[in-house]
């Protein structure tokens, strides 16, 4: 008997997850690489105080950095992961094979999204565990902060996932994927306040980064994990949560439109 849409989507998610965890490269690249970066830079930055002298509680650069790293982890499971793996699947003819069945198209995307959601959760738990263990980060202590944490993560992940799927339509072949996607991610990380303090960056760089989701995800997460007083050091003088929601929401809509317009099931050489 053919399964209902929901159980089919769950099965598709299961297949995606199986393939992911059985591929060592993607496991290392997507989940462990952000953890390694956090350990390396977190240790380098741990003595750098970024609050003005005398301000208490003091904030270290490593505390600032780990919130950015959690945002990067979310971006990595959504954007990099899909933008790299979908073109590979298309090259291998996996997508064409799905199109030869009556499987509704949305099931494929649902499977990807379910897989990404599970991976992002794993990634956040891993990174948060390291941050709490080594870098003076405390878990949110109010329901309000947990709520902010949740919506920033979900909205950010949705935007990144949709952009990852949309981006897969641009990639010419699976082989060129990492070479194109990795620099994009790195540039965003450098300009969005992951490796450097956003407020220290030249204004043109700030304006560039403010066009993309990562900057807003970082800012939203700082509001969760850094002291309320630290907001005074943000460029706008506050964490601007309303703007965070607006920009991430806009990227979700834009990403969805790009997915619907640009997604390809077959390679160009398939005629």
């Amino acid at each position: 008997m053919s399964d209902s849409g929901l159980s089919l989507a769950l099965a598709q998610g299961g297949i995606e997850f199986k393939q992911f965890v059985r591929t060592r490269e993607s496991l290392v690249f997507t989940l462990l690489f952000p953890v390694m970066l956090m350990l390396i830079f977190g240790s380098i930055f741990s003595d750098v105080i970024i609050t003005p002298p005398g301000v208490s509680p003091a904030v270290t650069l490593s505390q600032y950095f780990v919130t950015g790293m959690i945002a990067s982890g979310i971006m990595s499971t959504g954007f990099q992961n899909l933008a790299i793996t979908i073109p590979i699947e298309r090259d291998r003819g996996v997508l064409k094979r799905y199109r030869s069945t009556p499987m509704p198209k949305w099931i494929y995307f649902a499977g990807k999204i379910l897989n990404v959601a599970v991976l992002a959760l794993l990634s956040i738990v891993l990174l948060l565990a390291v941050a709490v263990a080594f870098y003076d980060i405390t878990l949110p202590d109010t329901g309000q902060k947990w709520f902010t944490f949740a919506w920033v993560s979900v909205l950010g992940l949705t935007a990144c996932t949709l952009c990852g799927i949309a981006f897969s339509g641009v990639a010419k072949s699976g082989r060129s994927g990492p070479a194109v996607v990795t620099p994009i991610a790195l540039i965003l990380q450098f300009t969005s306040g992951v490796f450097f303090e956003y407020s220290d960056l030249p204004p043109w760089m700030q304006q560039f980064a403010a066009l993309f989701p990562l900057k807003w995800m970082c800012q939203g997460l700082r509001s969760v994990f850094l002291p309320a007083d630290f907001a005074a050091q943000e460029v706008g003088g506050s964490y601007e949560l309303g703007k965070v929601a607006l920009v991430l929401g806009a990227w979700c809509v834009g990403g969805l439109v790009l997915c619907l317009l640009g997604f390809r099931w077959t390679t160009r050489r398939d005629g």
Partner: protein, 286 residues
């Protein structure tokens, strides 16, 4: 012939890639329940034609009806009724054979038991292996398994037995015959003339995007009327004679030799002979 009797009906099919006319006005009619083999040299346009019928490629012109539907506009209900084995495989590297077949069976309302399908294509002892560990021929069998898991009314097979060992090819032929007995219409392409002869009710030869002949394997290119060739050895030399009356010729030889004729053979042109001759003539006309 009415449309209900035809599984596939194509007329004036055209398709170009830039300035390369890959399919130039192909007509094709495949009856329900028929096994039809498309033959033709590399680049003749077989895959292009078949993938247009499967709904993967867009045609430039011509009328196409597959199970009564235009594949360019066909939906999920149509896909439930057809099975596809593409020329190129789709690789699910990290999944096991059984996992892949079970997963694809979920997409269909009346799928066969996955274990039984795996058994039918001879992969039972590989059911728990990752697909990237399969040999070339075994990967091809997995493709076939995915093509038949939905008990299709119409099965497309684009060079299905490439990479099969001789025994596997015979087993595959048996499988195709069983499917055909159960009423499945089959359109296959192949470069193996013995395969076409063993399986096909009719064959069509495509060359440079045009259908140059359609016939039963026995009658292709006037093969059934072709003269026989009687060969023997005499005075240390191979001799032969082309004749319409080979029995007569053998009797005369037997009388001459007073019994056994050394190294006697009586042959008619194979399908391959006829096919190559046909394409050769075609070349000369160019």
């Amino acid at each position: 012939m009415t449309d209900e009797e035809l599984a596939i009906s194509v007329s004036g099919l055209r398709k170009s890639y830039r300035d390369n006319q890959a399919v130039a006005g192909v007509d094709l009619a495949v009856r329900r329940g028929e096994v039809f083999a498309l033959l033709g040299p590399n680049g003749a346009g077989k895959t292009t034609t078949v993938e247009i019928l499967e709904g993967f490629r867009q045609r430039d012109g011509g009328d196409v009806s597959v199970l009564g539907v235009d594949p360019a506009k066909a939906g999920a209900d149509w896909r439930k009724r057809i099975g596809i084995v593409l020329q190129g495989t789709g690789e699910f590297d990290e999944l096991k054979v059984g996992e892949v077949v079970r997963h694809f069976a979920r997409f269909y309302p009346n799928a066969s038991d996955p274990a039984e399908v795996i058994e039918r294509v001879g992969l039972s002892d590989k059911a728990n292996s990752r697909t990237h560990t399969l040999s070339g021929g075994q990967k091809r069998r997995l493709d076939v398994a995915l093509g038949i898991v939905n008990r299709p009314e119409l099965l497309f097979l684009d060079e299905p037995t490439t990479g099969f060992d001789p025994a596997a090819r015979r087993e595959f032929w048996d499988l195709i015959r069983q499917l055909s007995h159960q009423g499945t219409t089959i359109l296959l392409t192949t470069h193996y003339l013995d395969e076409a002869e063993a399986l096909a009710d009719r064959v069509g030869v495509i060359n440079r995007g045009a259908m140059v002949a359609v016939s039963t394997p026995a009658e292709l290119g006037g093969r059934h009327q072709a003269t026989a060739r009687v060969g023997w050895r005499e005075d240390g030399q191979a001799r032969f004679e082309q004749t319409d009356h080979p029995t007569d010729a053998v009797r005369r030889l037997s009388e001459r030799f007073g019994g056994e004729v050394p190294e006697l053979t009586v042959t008619r042109p194979t399908l391959e002979d006829i096919y190559l001759e046909m394409l050769g003539e075609k070349e000369e006309q160019q």
